[in-house]
């Protein structure tokens, strides 16, 4: 109830705010305060709605259909949190939550940038769309409304259905929130671009929007990477990226945003490329909605591993409307203003940084085009092979990396060839050396050699420039003044944060996101971290408190590019040179794998995880030097597929230079006494027809049930009739077995069929509580005189060696870090620029040349940076 009211509040309040802001933008400035209040009300509504849903989830309110469908009492608190966005309604809630949170900060920022009315009016349309979607397809619907006729009014199910098992992973707690934060952030540059278009501030918006564009690229890039990491760690096919339409849908807006961030840099310098930047920024957001349309409308159907439902006619039309609205309206205005935006910009020579940036942008655009075509193919009942993406991206990546290296060596406006050659010598020599090394290491495919060469060139150019920038601007000094009591607190705090950060990082990486291993890992390793903490603390007290100097201001681009180059090398190594093997491992028998390079031993299974009922298959790994690690792929049964077959998760052992990746394929028993499963009154003829066994009934007395409940060993019995040719009437035999719920230990009574050499044992009981007549038993039998070969258990594992896969993750994290540095720099620039513009505006007002309007459409026309000299004078504005 509260939830639905809160959603309705968000919808009405954001709609009201849009109206008020629009009026404010058209001159009714006094309405700004009311618009702001209304926005805050809309944000509050969204917060309350999300809080309500979380409350329902964490308190197991299974009368709410969404909670019933996705939550379950079995899930840990971590995973319970991720049920919040497990499905459509919830992911819209997450999207709305981030959008609201951003709105809160955006009001202040846009107000500071004199953009509040326009930007907020546009930005809030997103919230209107999301809240309307949530009202139409509410996460607060009760089971009684959702399942009429099935759910008894007023009754609450005892448990929910739980999460899709492939989502039961730590990364799924971080990946979707990051992705949706990225999507939500992209609405900000979209709003600034459209506002700039409406206000005719074709230059100012670029500067204002820059930190948000970069921030969105950073967060979305990180989110996409986490998705790849999740796929690698859970899906078990050994890769991290399959060009699946769902992956592509989040990659597309990222590519376009990255392209935009390059051309925006050019516009900041030259004042040109106005149309390009607005178009790219509007397009990036349109692609967010296009992606969400593809993944939620059910059109992908067979094209993707991800399951999607038909969301219903209403939701589908809503998605189509939103998509149409966010494409037609902005681009309509864009073409309306087309002529006004032409002809700006300083000229620059072909051999200049500006050209380099434009080419980079065009290449990233080409990549986006390829991804767009492939992803859209299912719309016309087609699909493209992975080869389509891979083959086209080989030239794209080579040219991109080369242009990156070259353009950074070029000066703005104009450069000359001699200069370029002189500057590139160091990088070229290093590239030659490293590429030769790579070829000697075994990379012979010319395409891969070319990518590695281009990547090394880009890497060394960026490292060289980065080093020059940083030279003399980094270091560490120690504050040795005797600490005051407050300083002690700070030192303890710093030592503790460093220790905790390292501990968490090593915990998460070491256990490959499997939170079930957290407990044992902490228990095993805490002394090391205690020692680290003590060491840091002692160092801070004895050597002094360290002060790090590391000026990252101008490093963003170089760090990001270096990350991209490292990523490219990692992809070539890990994907181009993966080794694959399928090995049968008999229990406890060392078996060679990968042509004898490794020796694998399956040591058995481990049922320790009783909460999630995971079964770990322990595989010891040795190489020539001896034991090097243990892989623990695991399987579990789940309600999700009605306990029909186990879900398999890979086990990954990480080293600095490679990962060993294992997926369990099959487990079977070879040899041993045969087994038979019998229902009541069912008879089996076994041992070449010499023995007939009929199962009559089993006996599980109350006293033994009590023992089972209290986790003691318990004894169960089954009655069978065994008949032979000698004694066709048969003997009634009582078979017994002692089992325990806490261990694997099984003790079977060995029963000899009288006057024969035949033995029968009771293997297992399979009682059916609801229909006792359907209960079954598993029996084992053998002939003393013809003993079967001893039973061996064998597993089949699929194994991969992934060389240098860590470069893939390290590269992307470095790329993300670079974007982070750039965000900090551009945010400062935007704030400084507005202050400068305001000062000159104040002068203008003082001299009586400008109209008085707090939400000035007037910053336009004022040069915001000294660089911004345009060929054409502005026509609009003051």
């Amino acid at each position: 109830m509260i939830g639905s009211i809160a959603l309705a509040l968000t919808f009405t309040a954001s709609l009201t705010a849009i109206v008020l802001y629009t009026l404010a933008a058209r001159g009714r400035v006094e309405l700004t305060i009311a618009a702001r209040r209304s926005t805050q009300l809309a944000i509050l509504g969204m917060f309350v709605a999300c809080g309500t849903l979380l409350f329902y989830i964490f308190n197991y309110h299974f009368e709410i259909n969404y909670v019933y469908e996705h939550a379950s009492r079995k899930l840990s608190k971590f995973l319970l949190f991720s049920t919040f966005y497990a499905s459509q309604e919830g992911s819209f809630m997450l999207w709305g939550l981030w959008t609201s949170l951003i709105a809160l900060f955006l009001i202040r920022y846009a107000r500071r940038q004199r953009y509040e009315a326009h930007v907020m009016a546009i930005f809030l349309t997103v919230l209107v769309f999301i809240s309307l979607m949530l009202i139409l397809k509410s996460p607060f619907e009760t089971i009684y409304a959702a399942n009429p006729g099935q759910a008894m009014k007023g009754m609450v199910p005892i448990d929910g259905k739980g999460l899709n098992p492939s989502l039961e992973n730590l990364w799924i707690v971080i990946h979707p929130p990051m992705l949706f934060l990225g999507f939500s952030l992209l609405a900000v540059p979209f709003a600034f671009a459209l506002a700039g278009l409406i206000k005719r501030d074709y230059q100012g918006w670029v500067l204002t929007s820059m930190p948000w564009t970069l921030g969105a690229a950073m967060v979305l890039g990180f989110g996409v990477m986490l998705g790849g990491f999740w796929a690698y760690e859970t899906l078990g096919w050994g890769g991290f990226w399959a060009w699946d339409p769902v992956e592509n849908a989040s990659l597309l807006p990222w590519l376009v945003t990255v392209a935009a961030s390059h051309t925006m840099l050019t516009q900041k310098r030259t004042g040109g490329l106005i149309k390009t930047n607005i178009a790219l920024t509007l397009l990036a957001y349109a692609l967010v909605l296009y992606g969400s349309f593809l993944t939620r409308s059910g059109v992908l159907g067979d094209a993707s591993v991800h399951s999607f439902a038909d969301p219903g006619y209403l939701a589908f039309s809503m998605l189509v409307c939103a998509l149409g609205f966010f494409i037609l309206v902005p681009f309509g205005i864009f073409f309306w203003r087309w002529r006004e935006m032409s002809g700006f910009g300083q000229d620059y020579k072909i051999l200049s940084r500006e050209t380099g940036l434009s080419i980079a942008s065009a290449i990233i655009g080409a990549s986006a085009l390829v991804v767009f075509i492939g992803t859209s193919a299912p719309l016309v009942q087609k699909k493209v092979d992975i080869g389509f993406y891979n083959n086209l991206h080989i030239p794209i990546v080579i040219v991109l990396l080369l242009v990156n290296g070259l353009s950074l060596l070029l000066k703005w406006r104009q450069s000359n060839w001699n200069d370029l050659v002189r500057k590139s010598i160091v990088a070229l020599v290093a590239t030659l050396v490293f590429t030769t090394v790579v070829v000697l290491l075994g990379v012979h495919d010319p395409r891969f050699v070319a990518i590695c060469g281009a990547a090394f060139f880009s890497l060394f150019v960026n490292l060289e420039i980065g080093w020059k920038i940083l030279h003399g601007h980094w270091g560490v000094s120690f504050d040795r003044t005797p600490p005051s009591s407050r300083d002690y607190g700070r030192r303890v705090w710093t030592a503790l944060s460093i220790t905790l950060l390292l501990a968490i990082l090593s915990l998460v990486i070491g256990s490959a996101g499997d939170y079930n291993l957290f407990g044992p890992a902490i228990a095993q390793n805490w002394p090391y971290f205690a020692i680290l903490f003590a060491f840091l603390l002692a160092a801070f007290v004895i050597a002094g408190y360290p002060k790090f100097i590391f000026d990252t201001k101008f490093l963003g681009a170089y760090v990001a590019h270096a990350g991209l180059a490292v990523f490219a090398i990692g992809v070539i190594a890990a994907n181009g040179y993966t080794k694959h093997d399928i090995i049968r491992l008999p229990l406890n028998k060392p078996t060679p794998a990968f042509d004898g390079k490794y020796t694998l031993t399956w040591h058995g299974i481990d049922h320790k995880d009783t909460v999630n009922e995971h079964t770990y298959w322990i595989v010891g790994i040795a190489d020539k030097s001896g034991y090097i690690g243990t892989a623990r792929p695991f399987t579990f049964m789940t309600d999700f597929n009605q306990h029909q077959e186990p879900i398999r998760n890979p086990g990954i052992v990480k080293y600095a230079a490679r990962d060993l990746y294992f997926t369990l394929d099959a487990a079977e028993t070879e040899g041993g006494a045969p087994l038979d499963t019998l229902g009541k009154q069912q008879e089996a003829t076994v041992l070449d027809g010499k023995l007939k066994i009929k199962f009559i009934n089993f006996d599980f007395p109350q006293s033994e049930k009590i023992k089972m409940m209290s986790q003691q060993p318990f004894h169960v019995k089954a009655t069978v009739v065994a008949s032979t040719d000698i004694h066709p009437a048969g003997d009634t035999l009582i078979l017994g077995v002692t089992r325990s719920t806490v261990s694997e230990a099984v003790k079977q009574d060995d029963i000899l069929v009288p006057n024969t050499s035949f033995h029968i044992q009771l293997g297992q009981l399979m009682p059916d509580m609801q229909h006792p007549a359907n209960s079954r038993v598993v029996l084992r039998y053998f002939d003393d005189q013809h003993l079967p070969p001893p039973a061996t258990e064998v597993i089949t594992v699929e194994a991969f060696v992934k060389p240098y896969i860590n470069l893939v993750w390290a590269g992307i994290l470095t790329l993300v870090l670079g974007f982070g540095f750039a965000v900090v720099r551009r945010r400062r620039e935007a704030l400084v620029a507005i202050e400068r513009a305001e000062r000159s505006y104040a002068k203008l007002i003082a001299s009586g040349h400008a109209p008085m309007s707090p939400d000035a459409p007037l910053v336009e026309g004022l040069p915001r940076t000294p660089n911004l000299l345009t060929k054409k004078k502005y026509t609009g504005g003051a």
């Binding site: 308190n59 197991y60 309110h61 299974f62 009368e63 019933y68 469908e69 996705h70 499905s87 459509q88 089971i143 399942n147 099935q150 759910a151 008894m152 007023g154 009754m155 609450v156 199910p157 005892i158 448990d159 259905k161 899709n164 492939s166 899906l235 078990g236 067979d302 399951s307 999607f308 439902a309 072909i350 050209t355 065009a362 080409a366 085009l369 390829v370 075509i373 193919a377 009942q381 087609k382 699909k383 493209v384 092979d385 080869g387 389509f388 083959n391 086209l392 030239p395 399928i582 049968r584 999700f640 597929n641 009605q642 029909q644 077959e645 879900i647 997926t663 394929d665 099959a666 089949t796």
Partner: protein, 135 residues
């Protein structure tokens, strides 16, 4: 039009040409067994796994084989170069990409649909339900 525009245009046209070529080369049609057999092209066929005929995995050749019935009701043996996909037994539908060679669908990629609850299995488990307000 400046020289740099002409160069840019030429490169763009060239790239689009290559992309179009690659697209035709890598295109996979949504199809069924009959059509796939007739045209011999790489295609995507979806259908259901015929449980009665079972499935085998051969470790020596690393092939997983089974029988699949397509949406038109035609059945064909499928050979997949790899291990049994996750959820294979319970998947309500199986999607194979590959081509027909000698009466066998040689699949290079198999996707199994999860028995998705998003589609609403429709059945509710109200066993042990308690009156509201007691949870």
């Amino acid at each position: 039009m400046k020289r740099k525009h002409i160069i840019a245009l030429a490169v763009a046209v060239g790239f689009i040409g290559i992309a179009a070529f690659a697209l035709v080369d890598n295109k996979i049609d949504y199809s069924d067994f009959q059509k796939a057999q007739a045209d011999g092209r790489r295609s995507q066929v979806s259908g259901t796994y015929d449980k009665d005929k079972g499935s085998q995995y051969d470790i020596k050749s690393n092939t997983f084989s089974f029988f699949m019935k397509d949406r038109q009701g035609h059945e064909m043996p499928v050979k997949y170069a790899g291990i049994r996909p996750n959820n294979f037994e319970v998947a309500p539908s199986v999607v194979c990409v590959g081509k027909v060679e000698g009466g066998v669908f040689e699949a290079t990629d198999i996707q199994t649909k999860c028995p998705s609850r998003y589609e609403g299995s429709g059945k509710m488990n109200m066993d042990g339900a308690t009156p509201a307000g007691q949870s």
